[in-house]
Amino acid sequence: MKWIFGLLLALWLAPLWLTPVLAQGGPGYPCQGCVEDRPLFTMPSSALWYALERPGTGLSITVQDGFLVGMYYGFTPTGAPLWYLFTGPLEQPEDAPSKMRVRANLQRVENGPCLGCGYQAPDFLPSPGEATLEFDQANHATFAIDDGEPLTMLPFIAGVGYARLLPSYTDYNFPDLNGTWVAVQEVPQADGNWRYDSHIGELRSSSKLDRYANWNLLESWTPLDQYVILGLYCAFNRGIPGVDDPHSHDVPDCWLSDIVDLPDRPLGERLYFPVPYANIGASRISAVHPQTGVRLTMYRLEYD
């Protein structure tokens, strides 16, 4: 028990001594597989996020149907703790359509009740500035106040282990994905509606190398009748039939592979969804198929 919390606190404080290392040539958090005209995720992760370059500073983020409620936590110039509230809709900016952005005034609230005291309504004071929070992947963002330097934001992973699976190509910590997941396909229809399909199983890691990682969703009808339809893998060019790999031959890409029933197409067509590294989260894995607009989201059961 204590080691988990110790690990969390270490992570919370870690960025200070990690920063110089990362600044000296770490691969950072490239949006590998991203396309220019749309984000490849539906919603960013609701979580406690930390600023990579500012230990002890971060954001509490809750997203509900495209609306974000955020709390910035940090410190004043004298070192006292500080928080600001901000809320706003997530928008796809015209100048960066591959991202999701919230721009909102910070709300400064003071003179409320102290810990354990009787309630008194706080004062809402003039805004100290405008926050801009921009997500390029579901689990990677930048945060800036007014024209200040953008900070790199990443969510904490508290419930499972994690590892830098592709350390030469990304600093992203891939969470341990082993567990029960349901995969949901949102398929656009000709009439403008959506059709929803799902399948469920145990996601199991089958191999991990420095340049390759692979997971399969093991489904079953009976203990003796198990099969795999959905796979997630990170690898160098896989030579997917009929799919132009839009990325460099020098960098591994992650893909979700699943069978989808598309309207006016033969039943059961296999689609390959590009998955930017930081779309692979501890409780959600999200992807969009650029050619068809099919959204594929995986939800982890009994986790959050």
Binding site: W12, G159, E186, A282
Partner: protein, 313 residues
């Protein structure tokens, strides 16, 4: 998404919260009754909802709780005795007591940090400046709990639903803004295959909750009820396979003569779960119905339900 719709809903929710201030005379926070089942003894949820929690009658104080795999990592946002804003970090593991297995409990020490980086300043490592108190939390439903600071007064808390339509028919008695589930969901199921069996069955079905239907009580002889039909789509055909409902009897609504009862009924052919052929009724304490998740367990079949609102969070 319509920017103004979001802001309007959020502001309306805030105003509703302020309108609830007179209730402070009776209790601190929304005491959401656990109806339809003994929540203290029957474990129907695995963890509380992650997100911002608070007492809607006490704006300006928030607890951000994020739960992953029974580990809770949270922030308490409040004020110093001087009125300055302050935040405290806490971590805890959720546990069940033997005498009340339906409740989830967490105990944690609040940790205060100082001397970290200010906005625009050079990086600086924060220092732990003290342990200002102890927080205890108890959850009887996924979206309702009680917290105490240093064993003091109990304060009821619920998650902040900033962007969810609300079914307000039972608002006065239940004191929880019931999120309207209309829209796309995926329902997932888990169960042991049988007594002593090692094989765990899992299944899922996706579909759409339709719009809310309201039936008013008529002289106390008919139930006052709201329900939503759940339908799946296959080969272009829509198949109603169940409904989510909340029902009470009485002279209008409220007061009622019996407790409110909510549930999710499902009946459809399923190879993995033949129980659904004859229909399964999942009991739903009111505050187990969340904006992004609905959870329950059928005490008869042992099937666990975890439903996710698609594309919501």
């Amino acid at each position: 998404m319509n920017h103004h719709r979001f802001l309007t809903r959020f502001l309306v929710l805030m105003l509703l919260a302020l309108a609830g201030l007179p209730a402070l005379l009776f209790a601190r926070g929304p005491d959401v009754p656990c109806t339809g089942i003994d929540c203290e003894q029957v474990a129907l949820f695995d963890m509380p909802a992650s997100g911002f929690w608070g007492n809607p009658q006490e704006v300006g104080i928030g607890i951000h709780m994020y739960v992953q795999n029974e580990v809770m990592f949270g922030m308490y946002y409040g004020y110093a005795p001087t009125g300055a804003p302050v935040w405290y970090l806490f971590t805890a593991r959720l546990q069940r007591a033997d005498d009340s297995p339906g409740l989830l409990r967490a105990e944690a020490t609040l940790e205060e940090y100082r001397n970290g980086s200010c906005i625009g300043c050079a990086p600086a490592a924060p220092e732990q400046a003290g342990l200002p108190g102890h927080i205890s939390l108890v959850f009887d439903q996924r979206n309702h709990g009680i917290y105490r600071i240093d064993g003091g007064e109990a304060i009821h808390i619920v998650p902040l639903h900033a962007n969810s339509a609300v079914a307000g028919e039972f608002r006065d008695t239940m004191r929880y803004a019931l999120p309207d589930p209309e829209g796309a969901w995926v329902l997932t199921f888990k169960a042991e295959s049988g007594a002593g069996a090692w094989f765990e069955r899992v299944g899922s079905i996706s579909g759409v909750f339709g719009s809310r239907e309201v039936r008013d009580a008529q002289g106390g002889h008919e139930p006052h009820a709201i329900d939503w039909t759940f339908a799946s789509v296959s080969s272009g055909e829509v198949f109603p396979i169940g409904r989510l409902f909340c029902t009470t009897y009485g002279e209008g609504s409220p007061p009622s003569t019996i407790d409110l009862e909510c549930g999710l009924e499902l009946e459809y052919p399923s190879g993995m779960f033949p129980e659904f052929d004859g229909g399964v009724r999942f009991p739903l304490p009111y505050a187990n119905i969340g904006d992004g998740r609905i959870v329950s367990k059928d005490p008869v079949s042992g099937i666990r339900l975890e439903a996710f609102r698609i594309g919501y969070d």
